[in-house]
């Protein structure tokens, strides 16, 4: 994605944020992992191999206590104002300023996946899909229980894969996004 397409990217980001704010999350949550067909050469997290209890006494598996209760992330007023300001800065083509502003928001709400997704969107606009992908995965790791935020993160992953020419992986990521929060 070139700088010229930035407003579109931001519109998408804004739309996704809006979805996050207004859509009730569906109950299901995705299995973590990476979409198939991620290109070689990009840093991928080491996924844990399925546990092999090996020679231990055969016992019934531990039941998940309770699934993560559904929740919805919101931006607080301070972070929200900064995100709005960052949108304006990015819309006028100044992604460096937009990043600086979003980092202010991040320092106020470092564990809010919505801020990480915003940062990833600006990275994508700067034609840095690898960082966009990493930010999306950070968002995903924080978004447990919030299907809408997870969906936004998967869409960002999809877009970053597409930007690297991995259309198969992008389609898979889009499918995950859609299953979490159908558009």
């Amino acid at each position: 994605m070139r700088i010229g397409t930035l407003p579109a990217a931001l519109a998408a980001a804004a739309l996704l944020s809006a979805c996050t704010l207004f859509r009730a999350p569906p109950p299901q949550s995705p299995a973590p992992g990476t979409p198939g067909g991620t290109p070689a050469g990009t840093a991928q997290p080491a996924q844990p191999a399925p546990p092999t209890p090996s020679a231990l006494t055969p016992v019934p598996p531990a039941q998940p206590s309770t699934p993560t209760p559904p929740k919805q992330f919101h931006l607080g007023p301070a972070a929200s104002a900064l995100v709005t300001q960052a949108h304006q800065q990015a819309a006028s083509g100044d992604t460096v300023q937009a990043t600086a502003t979003l980092e202010r928001a991040l320092r106020i709400e470092p564990d809010n996946p919505l801020v990480w997704i915003e940062l990833g969107r600006v990275r994508l606009a700067e034609n840095n899909p690898a960082q966009a992908d990493a930010m999306a995965r950070k968002a995903l790791s924080l978004a447990s229980g919030d299907a809408a935020a997870q969906s936004s993160a998967w869409r960002l992953i999809a877009d970053s894969l597409r930007a690297r020419g991995n259309n198969g992986g992008a389609a898979e990521a889009d499918r995950r996004a859609a299953s979490l929060a159908p558009r």
């Binding site: 949550s29 995705p30 299995a31 973590p32 840093a43 991928q44 997290p45 080491a46 996924q47 844990p48 191999a49 399925p50 546990p51 092999t52 209890p53 090996s54 020679a55 231990l56 006494t57 055969p58 016992v59 019934p60 598996p61 531990a62 039941q63 998940p64 206590s65 699934p67 993560t68 607080g76 007023p77 301070a78 972070a79 929200s80 104002a81 900064l82 460096v96 300023q97 990043t99 600086a100 502003t101 980092e103 202010r104 991040l106 320092r107 106020i108 470092p110 564990d111 940062l119 960082q131 990493a134 930010m135 995965r137 950070k138 995903l140 790791s141 924080l142 978004a143 447990s144 229980g145």
Partner: protein, 733 residues
Amino acid sequence: MVKQFEGRRWTLPAQVYAAPLELYPGLPLGLAPLEHELQRLHYRRSDRADRPGTYQVAGEHLEVSLRPARFADETRPAQRLSVTLGGAKGIESLRSAAGSDIPVLRLEPLLIGSIFPIHGEDRIVVSPDEVPALLPLALKAVEDRKFDTHHGIDPIAMLRAAWVNMRAGQIEQGGSTLTQQLVRSYFLSSRQTFSRKLREAVMALALDAHFTKADLMNAYINEIFLGQDGDRAIHGFGLASQFYFGKPLSELDLAEVSLLVAIVRGPSYYDPRRHPERALARRNLVLRQMAEQGVIAAADAAAAAKRPLGVTRRPAGAYYPAYLDFVRRTLRRDYREQDLTEAGLRIYTSLEPRAQDEAERALEHELTRLDRQHKRAKAPLEGAVVLTSPQSGDVIAIVGGRDVGYDGFDRALDAHRSMGSLVKPFIYLTALESGRYNATTVVQDAPVDVKLTGDRHWTPENFTHEVYGPVPVVRALAESLNLATVGVGLDLGLPKVAATLKRFGLPQEPALVPAMLLGAVDVTPIEAAQLFNGLANGGFRNPLRAVRAVISADGRPLKAFPLEVTQVASPEVMYQLDRMLVLVMDHGTGRSARALLPPDLVVAGKSGTSSEYRDSWFAGFSGGHLAVVWVGYDDDEPTGLTGSAGALPVWARIMGGLGTSSWDPPIPDSVVQMQVEYPTGLRAAPGCASDIVSVAVPAGVSVPAHPGCGFPESTAATSLLQRAGQWVRSLGH
């Protein structure tokens, strides 16, 4: 000569700024700490906050007259700010002068120093509109009464001085005009000889003919030498104002302006910090002279003469040499030394002065206590601290040693010491990633004998010199058991463990020797912080950064250091490991920290002790902060301190003082929390077993249950020894 002066571009050392404090409703900052932050920026409490740099307090309400401020990304004019506080809840609302709500606002960044050449001039250049009107008047009254009318020299004043000097047989009086002083400072050495005096006079005449009086006065104000701070020469009134009073020149009052003018005559002799009586006497002389010449009213002079000197205890700037050292090294990768010391760059950093103060105080406090307990004839204990915000990768504080004002050996960046048991989390992380281990897996803490080359054998021991037998992983890590860990590490293979360390940011290839598993890997405190930052940030590595942005003298952004993250471990594995590091604090080697921490604060960490107690480490994190502390002797002598005895109290004091948030990441979907009996790792429930802890394991994993805990009979446990035997048999697969 005139050309040279016209082309005058003062060499402008880069100015370095701390992170600005973000204010927003909901920030848990009470009245006292908020006032403290304003006073750190040298805001004055007054009855009417009517001038920039002042504020007034009425109950839970503050009116602040903000100064104009320059940030990396924005310039903001002076403005009024109303802050309403809500008791313990902190800031309730922020309003502008017009009464509209402000969602978020930064205080201006604190100037923390400058990057000046070695043995060089440091200065902050001011423009005429930043100069209080009193200053030129005072300078003329005291140094050069005929400045406005003479042609660069004042023959009568020179003759008078010559007469005095001749009678005294030595040079006692100057009689130089401001123009001559300017020439001397700019073009000539300060040796007082008659031939040099002649040259100086000729040059002063030439300058006066070519420049306006206003230009010459402005040049003088920016040029003149006003103090010495170690290698750093304080030039110009702009910097002198910061150096002596910690605030901009424009905010100085009559007494303060008079003190700076008093210092001109002899910055060393009239040093207000070292010779306050002399400085006071001369300041009052300056005030009298001004009154005599009608520059100020006699009553004002008398009132100002009653004021104390008002200089800050320590020179502003160069407060944080260890942090500035890190900034300088970061920038040297991209900039030539000359750009940094001459080009007037503005450098915005991540330093948080409050956190830095906390870290400095904690280190000094605990080392003083430890020195008393462990008397040693030679040098005292030393230490270093690195503090970060894990998610942003901001380095918010660096302490390079006990003498925080000393610009010398920076242990945080340059002390390469064995990391000791700080390596263990990375071994167990590798173990969890293998899929063959979880927190409840029982491993053998048994004697180890590794045959090395030749006839040599490596036979490590536990710190207690005991052997613990079969133990679950969670206990082996919490109590830092060496033998169990070496067993696990050898099972995984040294290259696997080394690869994990590299992934988290270890800069060098560790030597693939078994002793690596006990931390025979040299790291500096800042490198240890880089490694642990990945653990604190949920398995995402971000390069630690001190510099956020570099801005040119004319306000153009030159370079930004944006946040970069790389996922280096899965959230599932990280959650399981971090959960065990929480138990280090509750059950293991971090236990003693609890006394210094808020009771409900959840933190995670790991102690480290290198061989023969040469290095005492503690690295740990909360939800918002990571701190790495090293304690040891500079000569590498044993300290007799474990990580828990030396570094941990420092760490706990810092964490306790920061007002940080709990470690509380979301539980990944494929991980479950489970209660287990700590000594055995058996699944348990409150009431049916003692010493129950909560660990995280992969969903679906089989964990043997404690008998009689109400779990189905088939989950009844085999003995610890049998389970350890199963693990031992599984080795070598």
